[in-house]
Amino acid sequence: MTERVDAIVIGAGHNGLVCGAYLARAGLKVLFLEARDTVGGMTSTCNIDDDHRIPGLAHLSFPVCPGIRKELKLDDFGYSPGKAVNTIALDESGRHLSIGQQIVSAPGLGDRDVSAYVQFKKEFLDCAKALRPLFESKPPRLKDMDFADKLTLAKLGWNIRVGLGRESMYEFLRVAAMNMYDVLEEVFDDERLKGALAADAVLGHHMGPRSPGTVLTWIARLYGELNGPLSVVCGGPSQLGHALLQSAEASGATVRLRARVKKILLEKGRASGVEMEDGEIVQARLIVSNADPRSTFLDLIGAPELDAMFARRVSQIRGAGDVAKLHLALSGTPEFTGLSASDIENRLLIAPSANYVEHAFNHAKYDQYSTDPILEITVPSLHNDTLAPRGHHVMSVTIMYAPYCVAGGWQEQKATFEDQVIAQIGRYAPGLESLIVNHDLLTPQDIEHKYHVRQGHWHHGEMTLHQSFMMRPVHGAAQYDTPVDGLYLCGAGAHPGGGLTGLPGRNAAKRILATGTST
């Protein structure tokens, strides 16, 4: 007999869990089908070897959206954002820059930059605040708006005009479509500071600071900061994925791990269930896909079951991953020149100037990995001592840029790239190489296979303007419902996109509960 539930959520990453938890709370019988052996998707912990564990992909995060935290009672289920960390922008000569939420300090940093940073952060956090209604609702349609869409636009208009005030609104409208590089040039003098902020604006995207739209990606990142300070993801029961699963389970949802969906089944054009890889069929009247849009439509549904132009639009989604991840198991505490032991608990960033970041991106445009990449380093074992044996540590490094398709093929290039990155960190942390007991590099192709996300893209698709808001992932599927009745999107490929906000999941659940449960 085939199992039947109300809603199947494909993929128990954080957005899938958020969406499923809301649906379960609304009384639906929810089943999560997760291909991997753990929930939490890119936030889940994985093994480097038998002794060393490390956060898989996302090693830093802002707290989840407070509304979700409250409504799903995540704190009752053990969730707590980790200890706040600052960003330390590393300088090869040891004149490191410490960047907090409001304060920046460094040897040799001019007073003008120090005060400009305070003003800069305030202005852009205000912009992120003004855009809140847009992030936290389904993106409004411009044609055939419903009441909710009009309300979102009205709130957005109010926030921008009245919330920001006239001067800030003018400034917002001026810079919104600019690139980050130009904005930074206007405001700051210090190269280290510009480099660090430029890196923040492009992290996870196939964009350099001079690419159009990078002010918007920076604002999207700041949206996360509205929820609280950045912290290191380090596994354990306080993690988002665990708390979300427990919250969902408390409402009656169930999860099946190592359960990979092969096809979404259709009955007269309506999604009616899924077929698992082992041939098992599970039926449901709602199928919610947390898989990326291209996998959902082109693999799980198949172009022949879609209208031709829609299928083409989906196939044209820009979303080739450009980030690699390096995991190092270390036999001791790494030491960085000019940093104290407690400094290493922070987020360490190698992006010494905005030009450095742009240069790093140049390579990626031509299918090469950066010879001097942006590196974002954490040592999660300093926050959770169960990740490594006593005295040992694990280091997590996000590397940009490492294009999905690299000339010569990753098979050939991977070892060289890995050595190059380790040597680069070694310039800031002498002696690192001698501490390495094990290492593991994930290229975008590895990320694709490990996390089942097309082309290994963190955000399931570039967050460019033409793939945002009412065009995310493509028009025709931008309000979480899709051309296939009964099928919904709830992942990072949907509005408002990637990041550990949980918003695509929550917005999708609201949409489903508003439209999908009656049929």
């Binding site: 054009g269 082109l298 172009a303 022949p304 079951e305 879609l306 209208d307 031709a308 132009m309 083409r312």
Partner: protein, 398 residues
């Protein structure tokens, strides 16, 4: 390919039949058709018209868009492309098909030939390669333009069967309407389909361009016993309106040519709802058409007979004489055989209903002086001209 390397030096290319057409042309009235030089009128409109309605007329169809579609998924690809249920199509048969974009708006129409389970030919009014390629994602199918590789000739009219027999093509008597036969003319192969755009008995012949002139000469050799004429596009326009056939891009804007919102048309709006099957599997536009199907059509393309004998050119349609303007005539012809003004008109249907009294305001010239008159219009649902002998199998022999 008969497209020569230097083809771009010539604005319009010559079809393989061109030497014969050029020899017959007394008017030199040529026009462009899909990049080819095609005759509007060769000698006299009335001669050409009466040939197709009372004896036999030949028309060069080479410029028509032709696509060779093959592969293991060819059937699935086509069934997802067109709105019709193709499961009834059999090898050796032809069917009329239409296809829509995602919004359920018509892109084009055409005839689909099934040679066997994995080999098809799609003939269309407009260039469709881009849409076919777009639609092919996810299918194991090969799509090739064969417009220039296949010469085509329409042989139409009550005596067309006899003419072809006289030309040495045997085996047509048992061929049913919409059937395909692989035959020989002299020593070269000819694929014959019992299809056409005239509403009369008629055939379309598909051959290698290398044999084009031989075929033409064989058919025109039948002039010894039968009246055989060549016809141009002007005659075709008359007879296709009589037969009630519509022409995408002329009688209505196709989805790919419409610029303004609401200027494109759905199958229901142009009277092609019969060619849409919402119960078959998925096809492009199905969801949009399903939604549209449940609403009354807001406008319809209707066949009308306009009273009187004033030539109907471009005219507006009104709800009652001197009433509200509700539409316009898209194409019209005087039908010599029916002695009537025939037209296709795009008419608004408030609440799904046609206006009770439809009138046209006709502007015409009398000795170069513009006159205006009102003519009542009668809506006709069946084709205007649909002779019995069209479908008789075997056809009457002359």
């Amino acid at each position: 390919m008969i497209v020569k390397k230097e083809h771009f030096r010539q604005a319009l290319q010559h079809s393989p039949f061109h030497p014969r057409l050029a020899a017959l042309s007394q008017t030199e009235e040529w026009t462009g058709w899909n990049g080819y030089m095609a005759p509007r009128i060769l000698d006299k409109l009335s001669t050409e018209y009466f040939a197709v309605r009372s004896s036999c007329s030949v028309m060069d169809l080479t410029p028509m868009e032709k696509y060779r579609i093959s592969g293991t998924d060819a059937y699935r690809f086509l069934d997802r492309l067109v709105t019709r249920d193709l499961s009834k199509l059999k090898p050796g048969r032809v069917t009329y098909v239409i296809w829509c974009n995602d919004e359920g708006k018509l892109i084009d129409d055409g005839t689909l030939f099934q040679f066997d389970e994995v080999h098809y030919r799609l003939c269309s009014q407009h260039h469709q390669l881009d849409w076919l390629m777009t639609s092919s994602m996810g299918f194991d199918v090969t799509i090739e333009v064969e417009t220039h590789d296949v010469a085509a000739l329409a042989v139409q009219g009550p005596t067309s069967n006899s003419v072809l027999k006289e030309a040495g093509i045997d085996g047509l008597d048992e061929l049913l309407p919409f059937g395909i036969a692989s035959l020989y003319c002299q020593d070269f192969p000819v694929t014959v389909s019992r299809t056409g755009y005239t509403g009369d008995l008629g055939y379309e012949l598909w051959i290698s361009p290398d044999n084009a002139l031989q075929l033409w000469d064989a058919i025109f050799a039948a002039r010894a016993r039968y009246d055989v004429h060549a016809m141009g596009l002007s005659t075709l326009e008359m007879v296709r309106i009589e037969a009630g056939f519509i022409m995408p891009g002329f009688d209505f804007n196709t989805a790919e040519s419409a610029v303004r919102a609401g200027y494109d048309r759905s199958p229901y709006e142009v009277g092609l709802g019969w060619a849409v099957n919402l119960d078959k599997g998925h096809f492009t536009g199905r969801k949009a058409l399903l939604a549209e199907h449940s609403r009354p059509a807001e406008r319809r393309l209707k066949k009308i007979i306009v009273e009187g004998n004033k030539p109907v050119g471009e005219a507006f349609i009104y709800d009652g004489k001197n009433g509200r303007r509700v539409g316009e005539i898209k194409c019209a012809t005087w039908s010599p055989i029916l002695k009537a003004n025939l037209a296709l008109a795009d008419i608004e249907c408030a609440g799904g209903n046609l206006p009770k009294h439809i009138w046209a305001r006709i502007d015409y010239q009398r000795e170069l002086k513009w006159m205006s008159t009102w003519a009542e219009c009668r809506v006709v649902d069946k084709p205007f001209y649909r002779p019995e002998h069209r479908a008789a199998t075997p056809p009457k022999h002359y």
